[in-house]
């Protein structure tokens, strides 16, 4: 049923080699022949069998992406970038969701290894030892995590935090809470690093947590922040920030009048919240595209050292309605 290169060759009255070359090394076959072959192929609806091609070239034309959890709105956007860029480069993408489970993540990489030219790992949860066992099985590009000698695209979260702190400081806030995410997460460490870098004489920053990096981590975090008497909150991510806002609303604390809230990631729902959430935007889609670019050069550029392939994306503070000047300490 499916039409093979043989069928095209027979129909066009040439050898399979010629058909093959018409597709893969066009300049090697006479214009006239090539046009005729290509036209015939088109007419017959021929599409080269990638599996067979991969068998001999050693390249599959596929790449894999592994994300910790698709229902975390952070990932679909990077996935979208990966997919779009991959398609431009005529690659197909394998998707896997490891459900936040490092062991599963490792298994997935190994299972994929044979059928892809490389794998993109988003916010990998794997331990150093687990990583060791997958490095080398296939080309790897990390997103949001740096691993020695491995290609990676990261976000300048530290810079983002700084922007958030500066923004709040400019508004007049003097005591700010940072609501920490999972202690072991690379992203959280990065954010904390940014916090230290953003430290200023005139601002007091208290760090709370860790809290669950989800909506339901918010309420607990909000209560602690209120108890600390801060006037502004920077949350580990938007989900947590939304949870915080929800809790504040329940407790009758008005955002942004009595409390300013800043999130992280700028997931699409940030702009839809009430009030719309000020957030540090991560350019996830760009990150996805960049990861594919890195992977591509890793595969094609000879002698490219994975360790040299690094790309850091700017973060951008998107100011919306959840931040404002702090309440007058005199009580109006």
């Amino acid at each position: 049923m499916p039409v093979t290169i043989q069928d095209v060759a027979r129909e066009a009255g040439v050898s399979v080699s010629t058909v093959s070359r018409a597709f893969t090394v066009p300049e090697m076959v006479k214009d006239e022949t090539r046009h005729y072959v290509l036209a015939t192929a088109e007419r017959m609806g021929y599409r080269p069998n990638r599996a067979a091609r991969g068998l001999i070239t050693g390249k599959t034309g596929n790449l894999g992406v592994i994300v910790p959890d698709l229902s975390n709105p952070f990932f679909p956007n990077v996935l979208k970038g990966v997919q779009a860029r991959a398609r431009e480069a005529d690659y197909a993408v394998f998707l896997a969701d490891c459900d936040e489970n490092p062991a599963e993540e490792m298994a997935l990489v190994q299972a994929m290894a044979k059928q892809v030219d490389g794998v993109i790992l988003c916010s990998s949860r794997m331990s150093a030892t687990q990583l060791e066992r997958v490095v080398g099985t296939t080309s790897l590009v990390f997103i949001n995590r740096q691993v020695r000698d491995q290609a990676a695209v990261t976000m300048d979260a530290a810079g983002g935090i700084r922007q958030a702190v500066d923004h709040l400081a400019a508004l007049g806030h003097r005591k700010i809470a940072y609501l920490s995410g999972p202690r072991t997460s690379w992203s959280n460490r990065e954010r904390r690093r940014g916090l230290r870098r953003a430290a200023r004489e005139d601002i007091e920053i208290v760090e709370l947590g860790p809290f669950a990096p989800r909506f339901d981590g918010g309420p607990h975090a909000a209560d602690l922040a209120l108890a600390e008497g801060v006037t502004a909150i920077i949350a580990y991510n938007d989900l947590m920030a939304l949870g915080v806002m929800s809790r504040l609303a329940d407790r009758g604390v008005s955002v942004p009048r009595q409390m300013s809230v800043v999130g992280f990631d700028d997931i699409s729902m940030a702009g839809m919240a009430t009030p719309p959430l000020t957030s540090v935007s991560m350019q996830n889609e760009r990150a996805g595209r960049a990861a594919v670019d890195l992977l591509l050069s890793l595969l094609t550029v000879t002698g490219a050292e994975a360790g040299d392939l690094r790309r850091e994306l700017e973060c951008q503070l998107i100011v919306r309605a959840s931040t404002a000047v702090p309440p007058d300490p005199t009580g109006r």
Copy 2:
């Protein structure tokens, strides 16, 4: 570098046939031999090359999913279901995002056809003529759309609408607006069908739109609904509902005191909105799993007629804080 079946055979001192059979038809090789072979393979880290296998068996062990837009929070959840179920069945999944572009969607199906055993189409945007050209190139399963003689998993949106109407009626609402989505969309037709079925003597339903099925379709829709003087709104989907709520807040209309709002899809952010949005839940993850099940039986069960493979999932109204009794018409 990668270890092949030949390597294992040599190492284990048997022929490649035996190794192959040890994996694919275990009962055909002597227990002792099989154990030894399997152990050797394991030790050497051998994983069969799926491409090579697919070449000869004609089955790839892959399946494809095409979604219209990953950044629409509806899809990642069904994707998650697809992925999970596929992995259980030892299938890998190819993902593609067609950016709401039917032509691209068609091209993607054709591009995938050769490398997958079947494709799952989520909320396909293709026209009848376009569909005609892809049916037959590979096995298809539709989600959220019914096509003649094709396997499909659908949601009982009509039933969901009815639940929403009954809920609002029970609260005392007498005039309700339905905010329509894209006129041509199958989902929208289904919802409208449900609307007619839910029609009751005591309730007046006005249909407005069509509006963009996104957050930014909400404001326009909200204004029209207000002008109609309804006390409750059912939106085409949650995104639109959130846009409506945002606009209502801007215009000083309190939800749910002055206006009740019901969404559709129950995307994760519905519960995080302020107030949390009452919504018709679609069980997207289950839908994804069901689609894979359908595809699998389409592939294995001989003589399974695609047209017979239908699965309809229940919808469930999740009542949250965005719906309440209507304002007293006397003005309190």
